[in-house]
Amino acid sequence: MSFVEIKKLVKSFGPEVAVAGIDLSVEQGEFVTLLGPSGCGKTTTLRCIAGLEHPDSGDIQIEGDYVTSVANEVFLTPEERNLGMVFQSYAVWPHMTVFDNVAYGLRIRRETRAAIKEKTTNALNLVGLGHLAERYATKLSGGQRQRVALARAIVYNPKVVLFDEPLSNLDAKLREQMRIELTRLQHDVGITSIYVTHDQTEALVMSDRVVVMDKGVIQQIGDPETIYAEPTNAFVANFIGVANLLEGKLLGHDGELTDIEIPIGDGSPSIRLRATGAEGAPVGAKIILSIRPEDILLHLEKPAEAMNLFEGEVIDTVYLGNFLDCQVQVGPHEVGVQIDHFEELETGQKVYLSFTPDHGLCLTE
């Protein structure tokens, strides 16, 4: 039994199904991220865990105890669950000082005056706000408010801390800095965390495990490397990176490798390629080939020998700092290629692309 167990969670708002049957388990001390586009049901899932929403069906257990079980009519109110939550809008109370904000949960728990003072001060020092304890929350910057919210959520040592896009209201630089601090803090404190974000970078660098969601359904669960390198379907591949997705047909299996063909229309012959994945799929099945831009090689001349070679026409190039982002027209497809050495490329120029089979991943719908 995991520390947090979610089973068959469903929640609708009127006709709209926000969460459509989610199963998830989180181990003690783990940092799990729910990742998905806006409106996919991440916040709703988190609020169900917090007890801020009543799910339509499903169970949630924390430390083996049911906190929500629709079938058994169990529902603990948020204050009975002993969790911490950090909200997107910080939700720092403007009518209290920083100290009072953080001490709120301790006072409710009827800790002694001395304990409140000590724990609050510790928590504030942990987030680097010790010197601002007496300041009113209205006089804080966005980053400082977020730290107050964080200290407030962890100070009473909750079982789980829930984060709902805590960094999304910060500017890019501050977000980067807070992300590093948050990761460090989570490591130091070792608190079980469920983190919601729509930012794949955030999810990939911070988490022990990533849960990719779309339309209220989990698409894939795995550690960041797996999610990045081996997306199990087109949605994940597309959402996690700027992968090229080319539609095609499965021709056959050859050991580890898979033979496919990608039609490029206009009566031209289809491109035949070898890639990996789609092991179970039958011959003739529709597949989607996913290749990351940085895995494609670009050649100005036709190379003597190269696997998976096909040709295209440069339609656009953009310099992005230390690499070149190049769009190549291949039949009806636009294929993005990233090259880290500088090439003199002109629009309309004919180029050759190739990739090794282990970089091409076949996904079934």
Partner: protein, 582 residues
């Protein structure tokens, strides 16, 4: 810029001089600004001056002195009136705040049944006349002719009066229920727009529902509550009609009823009246200053960006109690008074009981049929005059409001700040105080005893209400829309007519109707400034109440109430639901 003068440059700058100042914009705004300044400042200055003039015993000559103020604080009658005013204002503020906050909370934040249908009814008293409310409650709950008392007597055999509103409690009750919507309007917006995660985070931190409500929700709306409470306090201190009807005839005078006796009648002493007005005005202006300078800037910005409604609290079985409470309020503030007035108005003589066999519309003929020789002039004049004043006053006040708002928000500098200040001042002074100032200023001029002096009093006192309506929109509409019209070659007036005003149209309509309503029921300015022939609707009601009888009074009250209710419906259509909330 120093290099400009040092460099041997030749006239590249446009010619500067007094001629260039005379633009449409500068001329019109300056004229309006000066008119506003004169209209607002002169009566107040006159009030101050007159308050230090002491009338001699014969009542002919005056000399400078502080005797008026001594009379107020030492004379028995006036001192008692001062104390009564303080008691009423405090009591009403407490009652209206409790009612307003609880109703706002129920409607905005709980699952009380039918709360959306009840809300417009909760706001109706805001549009009606408290004076008429007092008349209604007099007929409902005065010891002798009170309908409720008599019903209790015949139903349960209670032979002592169950209720008695002819005292300070009655005044507190009626003003409290009528001014509750003021607090409501201040609070409900903050409650509705509050970021729900402020409360959610208290819940996840471990606070229960009640604790969250009392440590997070209410403290966050406290500035709004205080603002509403102060407005109620000030409004009550200046309220004339309710104490005049309910308590003054029974020995409970207030400062306003005393000011009234000093303004008109045999006992008139404008100088003493001016001094009493000064006392009221200084207190109310001080409170409004506190509200503007100290409380309003402290309100918390808790507005959420997300469109989702804030958490509704599930009251469980208690929701029916909340519903009953809400319905009770609507009954005592709207339904009962109107029904009672209606029945009273159908009798020739009111004895505290409905006599079904003798119902008649005769009173309505007496007070409404202005073409009928036997109709009562004070009533019929009042109807015609009030519609003229309301229509003309609202129109002129809105024009002033637009130009003043334009000056405040679209021209920078000293003039804008002075005008901003000038348009707060009238809010700080109750109608009766300002009217006293207008009276002593213009009593010796030809506009005295005409409708013009009433119009002047109305506009001076109430144009800030329209101005606030316009200003809030003008702040939201980009200045660049005006400027691009000017760039395209339009004159200032054309821009105002073709761009600015069309953009402000909804606000202008809403403000106009609001002022129309205020003017249609206005009593405390009118009662000081009217004379025979220039009665207004409320003065007509006053006249009937004083010199005729309750049924006739009720008939005119019902007529006024119906007109006001029609305005409410139109207002809601034009301005939408959120229009009044702070």
């Amino acid at each position: 810029m120093a290099t400009d003068t040092a460099a041997p440059q030749i006239d590249v700058a446009p010619p500067r001089g007094w001629r260039t100042w005379f633009t449409q914009e500068n001329i019109i705004t300056t004229i309006v600004g000066l008119i506003v300044a004169v209209a607002v400042i002169v009566p107040l200055v006159a009030l101050v001056i007159n308050s230090f003039l002491v009338l001699d015993d014969l009542g002919f000559d005056t000399e400078w002195g502080l005797q008026n103020y001594r009379d107020i604080f030492q004379g028995r009658v006036i001192k008692k009136a001062l104390i009564n005013t303080a008691i009423i204002s405090t009591g009403c503020t407490i009652l209206a705040t409790l009612l307003g906050v609880s109703l706002a909370w129920i409607n905005a934040r709980t699952n009380c049944p039918f709360r959306e249908q009840l809300e417009p009814f909760n706001l109706i008293p805001f549009f009606l006349s408290p004076f008429v409310g007092a008349i209604a409650w007099h007929n409902l709950a005065s010891p002798k002719v009170g309908l409720l008392n008599n019903m209790a007597k015949s139903a349960f055999g209670i032979d002592f009066p169950l209720f008695n509103v002819n005292n300070l409690w009655g005044v507190i009750w009626v003003t409290g229920i009528f001014f509750a919507p003021l607090v409501y309007l201040f609070v409900v917006g903050s409650l509705r727009r509050m970021d729900p995660s402020l409360e959610d985070s208290a819940r996840t931190t471990g606070a229960g529902l009640l604790r969250t409500t009392f440590t997070i929700t209410l403290p966050l709306v406290t500035p709004a509550i205080l603002s509403g409470a102060i407005i109620v306090f000030v409004t009550t201190a200046g309220e004339f009609g309710v104490p005049f009807k309910l308590s003054a005839p029974f020995g409970w005078e207030t400062l306003t009823t005393q000011i009234f006796t000093k303004a008109v009648g045999d006992d008139a002493n404008h100088y003493l009246g001016a001094a009493m007005s000064m006392v009221v005005g200084v207190v109310t202006a001080f409170f409004i200053w506190i509200q503007h300078r100290i409380i309003a800037p402290r309100s918390y910005t808790t507005v959420t960006g997300k469109g989702f409604r804030p958490n509704l609290i599930d009251l469980g079985g208690w929701k029916w109690l909340a519903f009953a409470y809400n319905v009770f309020y609507v009954c005592v503030a709207v339904v009962l008074p109107i029904i009672c007035l209606f029945f009273v108005s159908l009798h020739k003589i009111w004895s505290g009981r409905i006599i079904w066999s003798e119902l008649t519309f005769w009173n309505y003929q007496k007070v409404l049929f202005f073409w009928w020789p036997e109709s009562i002039d004070a009533a019929t004049n009042g109807i015609i005059n009030s519609f003229i004043l309301a229509f003309g006053g609202a129109s002129i006040a809105m024009v002033v409001a637009i130009i003043v708002s334009y000056m405040i928000h679209r021209t920078k500098g000293y003039g804008a700040r002075v005008l901003d200040f000038l348009s707060v001042i009238p809010i700080g002074f109750p109608g009766i105080v300002l009217a006293m100032g207008v009276l002593v200023t213009y009593i010796k001029t030809p506009i005295y005893a005409t409708l013009w002096i009433l119009l002047l009093g109305y506009i001076t006192r109430f144009f800030p209400y329209g101005q606030r309506n316009i200003s809030s929109i003008m702040m939201a509409v980009s200045e660049e829309l005006d400027q691009s019209s000017r760039m395209a070659g339009a004159t200032w007036l054309t821009t105002l007519r073709r761009i600015t005003i069309p953009l402000l149209k909804p606000g202008i309509f809403a403000g106009w109707i609001l002022l129309f309503v205020i003017f249609l029921r206005e009593l405390s300015i009118s009662i000081i400034l009217y004379s025979a022939g220039t009665e207004t609707l409320s003065v007509g009601v006053y006249y009937l109440s004083n010199f005729e009888n309750e049924p006739m009074t009720s008939a005119l009250s019902i007529a006024q109430t119906v007109a006001l209710l029609i305005c409410v419906v139109i207002f809601r259509k034009v301005a939408g639901k959120e229009a009044l909330t702070a």
